[in-house]
């Protein structure tokens, strides 16, 4: 099929997007679970602030989020400079920066899904685990975590889908460098900006949708499996 024959550049954008989205989702998942837990259960000062912070990327225009990332995580940014110096972790103009941007943009969606699941957990069952000797962390790992798997899956797929579609913050933060930071949505955007690019934009859009639909299908299938294991005897 001619339609789906990709140019070298397009293939590299697709592969990059897959890598960026996967890394962004997996790397932010632990933090997402932790933050969701803190928001659902924590009683600490700064909880409201954390909540606001998490929601910011949703509220801000992506370009603004990109600016903020640039200012904080850029080569000269306070966090970026620190990470580069101490851990050799460089974001600017790297695919890692694209992953960071995607993770940040997907974070509020991920956290909210997981948080809702945590809030739905029957705390009496957690208390039962506590009486059996499980510490708070052990309860979390052996009871809460398995019970919120559907929420984690939902959060992960939201994060992944968002990462597959995110481009505003990414291009602002790490530009649009072929092979390094030109993800699929950046490539699509590029095509939409030139007259006559619609056809190519559509092709790439369809590819991006297919990938996300596959991720969606996998997550739904996993969630059903988990649910069946709990429901059926």
């Amino acid at each position: 099929m001619d339609f789906l024959t990709l140019t070298e550049e397009e293939r590299s954008a697709l592969l990059l997007s897959l890598r960026v989205s996967t890394v962004a989702t997996l790397a932010s998942l632990p933090a997402g679970i932790l933050v969701a837990y803190l928001l659902a259960r924590g009683r600490f000062h700064g909880r409201a602030l954390l909540n606001i912070l998490v929601h910011l990327p949703l509220v801000l225009p992506p370009v603004v989020t990109g600016f903020v990332l640039l200012i904080l995580f850029g080569r000269r940014g306070p966090i970026g400079a620190f990470l580069a110096e101490h851990f050799g972790l460089v974001f600017s103009f790297r695919w890692t920066g694209a992953a960071l941007a995607a993770a940040v943009m997907g974070f509020p969606l991920m956290v909210r899904a997981i948080r809702l699941s945590i809030e739905a957990v029957d705390r009496r069952i957690e208390a039962a685990a506590g009486t059996l000797g499980a510490s708070r962390i052990a309860v979390f790992l052996t009871i809460t975590l398995p019970l919120i798997l559907p929420g984690i899956l939902a959060g992960a797929v939201l994060g992944f889908a968002k990462a597959m579609g995110e481009f505003g913050a990414t291009i602002t933060f790490v530009s649009n460098i072929p092979g390094e930071t030109r993800t699929l949505p950046a490539a699509i955007y590029t095509f939409t900006q030139v007259p006559g690019g619609d056809w190519n934009a559509m092709r790439l859009t369809i590819i991006s949708v297919v990938v996300s639909v596959a991720a969606l299908a996998i997550s739904e299938w996993l969630a059903r499996r988990v649910a069946r294991r709990i429901e059926a005897g």
Partner: protein, 358 residues
């Protein structure tokens, strides 16, 4: 071993209760809503009382004044919840094993997994998940889970309520053995006087958040008025007897009790062993005149009427002094006056043999 005295408010409900227990089984007894579960929750650490003190095995786990509150997972408690609370994502085997993961290494072997599974009759359920279990099956798994966690204290909130009598009859002896073989104290919430009488060393009776009676089983069960409190005409006498001999052919055991020699169904204990007998007051008849003959009742004990309680609901409780002990009998007021019962009257207490032992 266990010393509780707490105060806690829940909405309009005010709990101010306490008791002490030195090993064995302490029965918490009281009407629905009297605060039994709340008290047990406080002991387990599921609830932080407003004030008071809880000491388990000499170790304070809660002290309101000292702001001490040991979290639940460090109390080493096996709690059978009124609402079973099985882990829905784990299968039965994993539910049962859960507490073991967290028991300290040196906690001893505790009760064997296989023995518990067998006793509870849940071997065929091990691979199943809780969602499909029947009410009774769920409850049995919950009991097993608590027993297998090698606890230093067992809290059982109506553990047998959802079970049929045959199953109860299998579990109760197990709990008795547990009581006798280990030093693990048990707090046992129940509505069933039969269970309480059989298992408990001490009884704590609650009413509207207060402890209204506390003492040994014999004391509390024989106390007039408990009937109304317990809600049923099931007061009785608790006797500690020693085994004399067995009649294996007929399945009977002869024992020596403070009230005299008794023949008991079932073969229990070696000669010389101590057994506990509960004689419900309603199963003791009174005969005046000479010792009756040709009766199917095996146990007919001579005695004298010691005390006649107040009439309630058409019947009276009569305390009969037999041997060095007492037997409580419940007869209708009509019979009492027909037979001319009065303190000092020589009578025979007719105990239906099958009424013993449980």
């Amino acid at each position: 071993m266990l010393d509780v005295a707490i105060r806690h408010r829940l909405g309009a409900f005010d709990l101010a209760a306490g008791f002490t227990a030195a090993g064995g089984v302490t029965a918490l007894f009281g009407r629905s809503g009297s605060g039994k579960t709340t008290l047990v929750n406080a002991i387990a650490g599921l609830l932080r009382p407003d004030a008071g003190r809880i000491v388990i095995g000499g170790v304070p786990v809660f002290d309101g004044a000292a702001r001490l509150f040991v979290p639940k997972h460090r109390r080493r408690i096996g709690y059978v919840f009124q609402d079973a609370r099985l882990f829905p994502h784990l299968n039965v085997r994993q539910n049962l094993a859960y507490g073991r993961w967290f028991a300290p290494r040196g906690a001893g072997d505790g009760i064997g997994f296989d023995a518990v599974v067998e006793m509870l009759g849940i071997g065929h359920l091990l691979a199943r998940r809780p969602a499909g279990l029947s009410g009774g099956e769920t409850q049995r798994v919950a009991i097993g889970r608590a027993l297998l966690s090698r606890p230093k204290l067992l809290l059982m909130d109506e553990p047998l309520a959802a079970l049929d009598d045959a199953r109860k009859a299998e579990i109760l002896p197990f709990l008795e053995r547990l009581r006798d073989a280990t030093t693990v104290p048990v707090v046992y919430v129940s509505h069933s006087l039969a269970e309480v009488a059989r298992l408990a060393t001490r009884v704590v009776v609650m009413e509207a958040g207060r402890v209204v009676a506390e003492g040994t089983v014999g004391d509390v069960l024989a106390r007039p008025g408990l009937g109304a409190r317990a809600g049923r005409a099931e007061a009785g006498t608790l006797l500690v007897a020693s085994v004399l001999s067995h009649d294996a052919a007929h399945g009977l055991t002869t024992v020596d009790s403070p009230a005299g020699r008794l023949i008991v169904p079932g073969v229990a204990g070696r000669p010389g062993a101590a057994v506990r007998l509960h004689v419900p007051a309603r199963d003791v008849m009174i005969a005046t005149g000479p010792a009756p003959e040709g009766l199917s009742a095996l146990n007919i004990l001579p005695g004298t009427v010691a005390e006649i309680g107040a009439a309630a609901g058409g019947s009276v409780e009569v305390r009969i002094a037999c041997g060095s002990g007492f037997l409580l009998s419940r007869v209708t007021q009509f019979s009492a006056s027909r037979l001319g019962l009065a303190p000092g009257l020589a009578v025979h207490a007719i105990v239906k043999s099958v009424a013993l032992a449980e």
